[in-house]
């Protein structure tokens, strides 16, 4: 396996996640897609760590994981709060703050 092949994998994974973030209507769906994107970033940084013999890539991946978990925790709290206020988690209906 070469580094370029793994980078292609990371890019494709990131773009799939981006497509999900842009098209999903449900807040939970957007959170799932963000998870896919963060996973792609981890794949890329660990690939670089493997091929440059530099462990900073793995350190970076550890930090990305912790940040993602923090984001998921707050995001899920927001989902529950949104559902409690509006009885659904549709992100397009919840755009009152824009007006």
């Amino acid at each position: 396996v070469t580094l370029a092949q793994l980078l292609y994998l990371g890019v494709v994974l990131f773009c799939i996640g981006l497509y999900g973030v842009l098209t999903r209507r449900n807040f939970m769906g957007i959170l799932l897609s963000v998870e896919v994107m963060a996973n792609a970033v981890n794949v890329v940084s660990i690939s670089f760590s493997r091929f440059t013999q530099n462990l900073l890539g793995q350190v970076f991946a550890v930090f990305v994981m912790a940040l993602t978990v923090a984001e998921v925790v707050v995001g899920l709290a927001l989902v529950i709060l949104l559902y409690r206020t509006m009885r659904h988690t549709d992100i397009d209906e919840a755009s009152h703050l824009r007006h």
Partner: protein, 190 residues
């Protein structure tokens, strides 16, 4: 060379499963299926991490994501979904599909082109130093970042608790008497 071919085959198989699971997460109608597919994706990424000689991160991935985050998300879905209409409300927006597809495909093509044009990739195939060295780096060079990360996680936890609490336990006697809201069946006219 046989070893190299074997590694390539294993990585290709794992990558195929990862990509299929990612597509299924993104375009699936049923939210529960999407979360379960996310679990498959995260688990297969852990396998990929093992192939990339990062066993510690593979362990974290399985414990934290495949164990923790997926369970948490399933709980959140079951707390927030109505019995009907989940598939409908989770559907992707048709009018956004084409621009989103163009944007993500364009970005992907751009980055893939730049990867294609790059020629001087490092090709080291030696086994990287292990988990011990990773722990050493985390607790010496990156110790400050690690502490800041701990504070961030604590703040996120407290924030989540505050946000998801059922009601603001305010100063009024009513909210202290009925922290979960005034019962509906109570006869208020008397």
């Amino acid at each position: 060379m046989g070893n190299f071919m074997l590694e390539l085959l294993a990585t290709a198989a794992v990558a195929g499963v990862i990509l299929a699971a990612a597509v299924s997460v993104v375009i699936g109608r049923n939210l529960v299926h999407s979360v379960l597919m996310l679990g498959v994706l995260l688990f297969c990424t852990a396998v990929l991490f093992i192939l990339l000689e990062a066993p510690f991160l593979a362990g974290i991935q399985v414990m934290l994501y495949a164990g923790g985050v997926v369970t948490l998300m399933l709980f959140a879905i079951m707390l927030t979904r109505r019995s009907g209409g989940v598939a409908v409300s989770n559907e992707t927006l048709p009018r956004r599909r084409v621009p989103a597809l163009l944007l993500s495909f364009g970005l992907g093509a751009l980055v893939c082109w730049s990867i294609h044009e790059t020629t001087d990739f490092p090709v080291s195939a030696e086994v990287s130093r292990g988990t011990k060295q990773l722990g050493y780096i985390l607790f010496t060079d990156q110790a400050l970042s690690l502490e800041v990360l701990g504070v961030l996680l604590l703040a996120a936890t407290i924030g989540a608790i505050v946000l998801a609490r059922r009601r603001d336990y305010g100063e009024s006697a009513q909210s202290r008497a009925y922290p979960y809201g005034v019962p509906v069946s109570e006869d208020r006219s008397s």
